[in-house]
């Protein structure tokens, strides 16, 4: 019972941080489940996928109401992300667990460093956009370089199936820089795609028994509430400090994960 309450609180914090910073909660929940709840890494990834889907579902309904999501573009790229995610999720079943844990630790470290060097600018334009009054002006655009977009989406999907993450840091710059899509639309569309991408891998994880329902349910309940509150608080908070807090937690978790891995190997 205490475990359940703790999981709900963790989910709440992950959802809150995710909504405030745009950095998904899955990247934090997986190592926490593996390190402090003794869950094997593959089950930890599968379980936090449920939180990733919850976040995307809850937040993309808000983006849709602002009409900033390009459903056609999202659906097209989902052909690639879902395929990459499902195939990789299937292959993960044959991976060595220590390898998977090492990969996750490396990814966590890499993300933390990337965020830090970018100065916490994950989505700089969105904060200045007049989204608050509901009327968002989107310049006319035509998505370009679909072959490149589909190729990179395949990689983003595979990463999602491998590590249980949303893959926003790949998809947003891809659409914004290479496909000529306004940043606001790229952010909303990436978020929109995460639900389907994560579901493609979550179905495979679930069928394999890698989603632990007794952990996933309290976490998802917390994530849902946390992301609702986060969406309300987001305009009123100094995002920079939240990002630094998040980066500190990521560094700590990746270090702990590497230590955990070394202890397991030796």
């Amino acid at each position: 019972m205490l475990t359940m309450a703790l999981l709900a609180v963790l989910g709440f914090l992950a959802g809150l941080l995710g909504a405030l910073t745009g950095i998904g909660g899955g990247v934090l929940l997986t190592p926490i489940l593996a390190l402090y709840f003794g869950i094997p890494i593959r089950e930890a990834i599968g379980t936090s996928l449920v939180a990733v889907i919850t976040t995307s579902t809850a937040s993309s309904s808000v983006h849709l109401q602002r009409h900033t999501t390009d459903i056609r573009l999202g659906m097209t790229l989902e052909l690639a992300t879902a395929l990459g995610a499902a195939v990789m999720a299937y292959m993960v079943g044959y991976f060595n667990r220590n390898f998977l844990e090492g990969l996750f630790a490396a990814f966590l470290l890499y993300s933390a460093i990337t965020i830090l060097t970018k100065g916490g600018k994950v989505k700089p334009e969105e904060e200045s956009s007049p989204a608050a009054n509901g009327e968002v002006v989107i310049p006319h655009y035509e998505p370009q370089r679909y072959p490149l977009g589909l190729g990179a989406s395949l990689v983003a999907g595979a990463l999602s199936g491998l590590l249980g993450i949303g893959g926003g840091p790949i998809k947003v710059p891809l659409m914004y820089i290479f496909m000529n899509v306004p940043l606001m639309v790229a952010t909303a569309t990436s978020n929109f795609m995460i639900g389907v991408t994560a579901t493609a891998s979550a179905i495979v994880y679930y069928r394999r028994g890698d989603i632990l329902v007794q952990y996933a349910a309290p976490i998802a309940v917390g994530v849902f509430l946390g992301s609702l509150l986060g969406a309300q608080l987001a305009p009123r908070i100094h995002r920079k400090y939240v990002v630094y807090l998040l980066v500190a937690v990521m560094f700590y978790l990746s270090g702990h994960l590497l230590l955990h891995l070394l202890r397991g190997v030796l």
Binding site: M75, A86, A217
Partner: protein, 99 residues
């Protein structure tokens, strides 16, 4: 092709997602609260229903978009949605027989 500003389309998809998220939240919460009072497998099965519905929500979203595209005679994107749906269903076949 990327005409934004299709308020009705956006709203329909948004309603699917919001309904899914809220219903799943309440089912899972009910399972958790039920678990405080009742021992045995029933609370866990309620939670499982919530989790499975959460996984089903994006699938339903693809189905709804697919139907809307075909109704708008936008066949290209209708077939694209059908392709995404097929991949999602393939995913459930992949997982079989491996534990």
């Amino acid at each position: 092709m990327s005409e934004l500003r299709e308020p009705a389309f956006d709203r329909a998809v948004a309603i699917v997602l919001r309904t899914g998220a809220f219903v799943c939240f309440f089912i899972m919460l009910a399972g958790l609260i039920f678990g405080f009072f009742v021992k045995g497998p029933i609370p866990l099965e309620i939670e499982r229903a919530g989790v499975l519905l959460m996984l089903a929500t994006p699938v339903v979203r693809v189905v709804v978009a697919c139907v809307l595209f075909f109704r708008e005679k936008d066949r290209k994107y209708g077939w694209i949605s059908m392709g995404v749906l097929l991949i999602l269903l393939l995913g459930s076949v992949f997982g079989i027989g491996e534990h």
